[in-house]
């Protein structure tokens, strides 16, 4: 009789802390290969066209940055939430709220032109995301509601509100009844970084700046220290004189602002108008990005690129393999599953025991 036990480590393992995302990615590839062979595809060539081919052309690297920008922006904000033990699952709704608020200017005042239009749009986008994130924060602090449920449910509210807007008041009168607003005028469009070679816009630069700023705050300032203390032990945080309620607002406001910024950057930079579907679930995928990046904003930059690749791979797979682009969602789910599973190795080690009491081998 053999038995596998997991044994708590006396101290968390720095090695597995660094290794865990890579183990997770490796296991994801294996699971993907199995999945492809069940579907009757050659796993090697399928994985190649899924994960390598999108990186072989300049234009598709631009697409990668376009998709990575909102993922990184949102995940950086979520890392502040998750580190402080605030489980904001509603970034998708905050993204939509930001997209709507940021679109007020180009949709309602389409004739406004000038350098000031874009900054105001971005600020309104952030304000919209913040305002929307305040709701679950307030409910949590005031009524002790579970923020996972409230923030998630507010996503559906935001999605339906957007749907109602673009089919109703904000619909483009000359748009042949498509559920879309007017095309934004050029001064309301977030410009490309390098126009000659592809579509990547300044949203990616904003994401990098946000990641570095939040990384600095988390690792160097008292504010970041407060976030980590309260996230790990609320009682020790109270002993330190930190207020959990204030931090809940702070974390939701930061992540709401960044999700809102991602929303308006997506609308203004990648789409150019407001539509019913402005996001293929960036707000949810960003949760995976945050964990794959170990809740470290610099790690999140890398993780954002990886998850962006899964979106591109999904599109490529649709064309070259003839499988649904929904396969991207499957890959994202598998990654999250393995990331969380691999994290167990940071705090526990695996021991294989045969019969009663005799430890035979120590693995991991």
């Amino acid at each position: 009789m053999m038995r596998i036990e997991i044994v708590k480590r006396p101290q968390h393992s720095a090695l597995f802390s660094a290794l865990s995302p890579f183990i997770a990615l490796f296991l994801t590839l294996i699971a993907g290969a199995i999945l492809f062979s069940i579907l009757g595809k050659n796993p090697i060539s399928a994985l190649y066209s899924y994960f390598v081919e999108p990186l072989t052309e300049v234009w598709s690297i631009h697409e990668l940055l376009v998709k990575a920008a909102p993922l990184i922006l949102i995940a950086v904000g979520l890392s502040v939430c998750f580190l402080s033990n605030n489980w904001n699952i509603g970034a998708e709704g905050q993204l939509i709220a930001g997209g709507i608020a940021g679109s007020i200017l180009p949709v309602m005042f389409p004739d406004l032109q000038g350098w000031y239009v874009l900054p105001i749009m971005l600020l309104l986008g952030m304000a919209g995301g913040m305002a929307y994130a305040t709701i679950p924060a307030f409910l949590k602090v005031r009524f002790n509601t579970n923020e996972i449920l409230t923030s998630l449910m507010l996503v559906y509210v935001a999605q339906l509100f957007l749907d109602w807007l673009v089919r109703g008041h904000w619909r483009n009168p000359q748009g042949y009844n498509f559920p879309e607003t007017v095309q934004f005028n050029p001064s309301a469009i977030l410009p490309e970084i390098w126009m000659a070679s592809g579509r990547a816009h300044w949203g990616f630069i904003l994401a990098l700046v946000a990641a570095v700023l939040v990384w600095f705050m988390l690792s160097r300032t008292l504010n970041g220290y407060e976030i980590k203390v309260l996230g790990r032990s609320s009682r020790a945080g109270r002993f330190a004189g930190f207020s959990a309620g204030r931090l809940t607002f702070f974390a939701f406001l930061i992540s709401g602002a960044l999700a809102g910024l991602a929303g308006i950057a997506e609308v203004s930079g990648a789409v150019g108008q407001l539509r019913t579907s402005i996001s293929p679930g960036y707000g949810f995928t960003a949760i995976i990005v945050a964990f794959l990046g170990r809740l470290n904003p610099l790690g999140i930059i890398a993780a954002g690129l990886v998850l962006a690749l899964s979106y591109l791979g999904g599109e490529a797979a649709q064309i070259s393999l003839g499988i649904s682009e929904k396969s991207a969602r499957i890959f994202q789910g598998i990654i999250l599953f393995f990331v969380l599973a691999s994290d167990t190795l940071i705090y526990y080690r695996i021991r294989i025991v045969s019969r009663a009491g005799d430890a035979v081998a120590k693995g991991a």
Binding site: T221, L222, N223, Y225, F239
Partner: protein
């Protein structure tokens, strides 16, 4: 003392463990331990925290399997593979932490642990009978939630006696009792001995071991370092065996009488507070005042509102009016813990990991926990950015580690990687390092080994004598008598008047801890 020790006779001992060894990973928790328990003796197992007492006892009871070595029970070699087998052999155990359900009656709790399906009425009758025989009065119909700790312990003991064991193992039984309750327990134990039952008594309280036990086996670092008749030893010689060196005697030079009329540095006036949760105690009209140079000891059995009092004084919980708490003459009842620290107060809570320190954060980060507001200029730079100054934190941590003799394995380990005693030395040193004028410590040496405890107590005395006001909340009466200038007792959320140490006796503090009215206590003490 009616018991006789028959171990020296020719008959086989009740239990004989030879070369019992238990290895956890690389740690030898028990190293070739030999232990012999005769019929009808109270045998004490002495040792500091981490000496291997619990591991040894768990192996005898069947809760752990020895790595090597033999256990002989009544002359027969046995393998105790689980606690049920231990019970069927006749080994009963009363644990330090009770396993009783609050919402059930005493009889129902006892029924839960019995293997066969005995009707509840029979159990209640037998429990009552055993209780009467052995001086363990318990109402079988009473809800456990309503009972005192001493009564709960009686239920555990009755539960154990119902199995009719030949050997009863008691793990630190008096740690939760008042002196009077402990006296009652000793009477019961002596009666059991007179009936020929054997008792293995685990304790680090040397006085009671000398009073009660026939023989003692002393453990240190997993090894037997001595066997003796504790009645022939002194407390000091037992302590020396246990610790391996002489224990530092606290130097408690008297308070200087030259400054008598000083105002109190910390005052609590009429503090009342409703319970904040289902397991919280309410506080009733608490008054106290501590002057410069003084240590006020607050005695009491755990769970009588000490934690709530601590959180009220620290400012983790605010008061209704500002003047309920005064720190150095300033009303502080409505300001938070950081502002109270800035008034010169320092706090060390009972729980180290998860309250006084964040377990998975380094020592330097934990240093910042209570110092970020008071020592802002030193530990934070960059103006409003409030950047954490790692270098200043590291040098301050180093200073504290040297000052308090904190032993650690790495340069800057996580708090959870330190032993309880070393972490406590660090947490006390963290506050002493800023020379607080008021210091409140809850259970300063709980679970701390004797050497570290002496160090901590001396540091508290020195702090007070240098002009600070110190409040020490403790369950350890020896500790309070050693360092306090005045002692008050806490019971059911009320605090008694404080009594100067010269006028205080163990009997009197015991009565105060038991909730006997102060005037009655005085009368009793006078009559005694």
């Amino acid at each position: 003392m009616t018991g006789t020790t028959r171990i020296n006779g020719s008959e086989t001992p009740l239990l004989e463990a030879s070369k019992l060894t238990k290895i956890f990973g690389t740690l030898k928790a028990c190293d070739e331990i030999n232990l012999t328990i005769g019929t009808g003796e109270i045998h004490s197992l002495l040792g500091e925290n981490g000496a291997g007492k619990s591991t040894l006892v768990k192996m005898l009871f069947g809760a752990l399997q020895p790595t090597s070595g033999d256990i002989a029970w009544k002359g027969q070699s046995v393998t105790v593979s689980n606690p049920a087998m231990g019970r069927s052999l006749g080994i009963g155990m009363v644990f330090q932490h009770f396993s009783l359900f609050d919402a059930l009656t005493a009889a129902e709790n006892i029924a839960l642990s019995l293997d066969e399906k005995t009707p509840l009425d029979t159990i209640a009758a037998r429990a009552k009978e055993i209780g009467q025989t052995y001086g363990l009065p318990v109402d079988p119909e009473a809800l456990v939630g309503d009972l005192s700790v001493g009564e709960r312990q009686r239920i555990e003991i009755i539960r154990c006696l119902l199995q009719n064991p030949d050997l009863i193992i008691l793990d630190e039984p008096t740690s939760v009792l008042t002196p009077q309750e402990a006296d009652l327990l000793f009477v019961t134990l002596e009666r059991l001995r007179s009936e020929g039952k054997s008792i293995l008594y685990i304790s680090h309280r040397l006085e009671e071991v000398r009073r009660l036990c026939d023989r003692a086996t002393v453990l240190r670092h997993g090894k037997v370092v001595g066997q003796c008749d504790p009645r022939a030893e002194t407390t000091a010689s037992l302590a020396r065996m246990m610790v391996g060196s002489d224990i530092h005697i606290i130097d408690r030079h008297p308070v200087e009488a030259s400054a008598p009329a000083q105002a109190a540095l910390i005052e609590v006036k009429g503090l009342s507070q409703k319970p904040r949760g289902p397991f919280s105690v309410s506080l009733h009209d608490i008054h106290l005042a501590v002057r410069s140079g003084e240590i006020l000891g607050i005695a009491g059995v755990a769970g009588n509102g000490q934690g709530e009092l601590f959180e009220a004084i620290s400012g983790e919980v605010l008061q209704e009016r500002p003047d309920i708490i005064r720190i150095r003459g300033t009303d502080a009842g409505r300001i938070g813990i950081s502002a109270r620290r800035k008034l010169g107060a320092a706090f060390v809570p009972e729980e180290r990991l998860g309250h006084g320190a964040v377990p998975d954060m380094s020592l330097t980060n934990n240093l910042l926990l209570s110092r970020h507001s008071t020592d802002r200029k030193v530990f934070l730079t960059g103006g409003t950015l409030k950047l954490v100054a790692e270098a200043s934190l590291a040098s301050a941590a180093k200073r504290i580690v040297t000052q308090m003799d904190v032993r650690k394995s790495a340069e800057n380990p996580d708090a959870s990687a330190l032993s309880g005693g070393n972490l406590q030395k660090f947490l006390i040193g963290r506050e002493l390092d800023r020379n607080p004028s008021v210091m409140i410590v809850n259970q300063p040496t709980w679970g701390v080994d004797a050497g570290a405890a002496a160090h901590i107590r001396q540091a508290l005395v020195d702090l007070a004598r240098s002009g600070s006001a110190v409040i020490v909340i403790s369950q350890d009466l020896d500790e309070l008598f050693e360092i306090s200038d005045r002692i008050a007792a806490m019971v059911h959320g009320r605090l008694s008047e404080s009594v100067p140490i010269e006028a205080m006796s163990r009997e009197r503090v015991g009565l105060m801890m038991g909730g006997v009215d102060h005037s009655t206590a005085l009368a009793n003490a006078g009559a005694a």
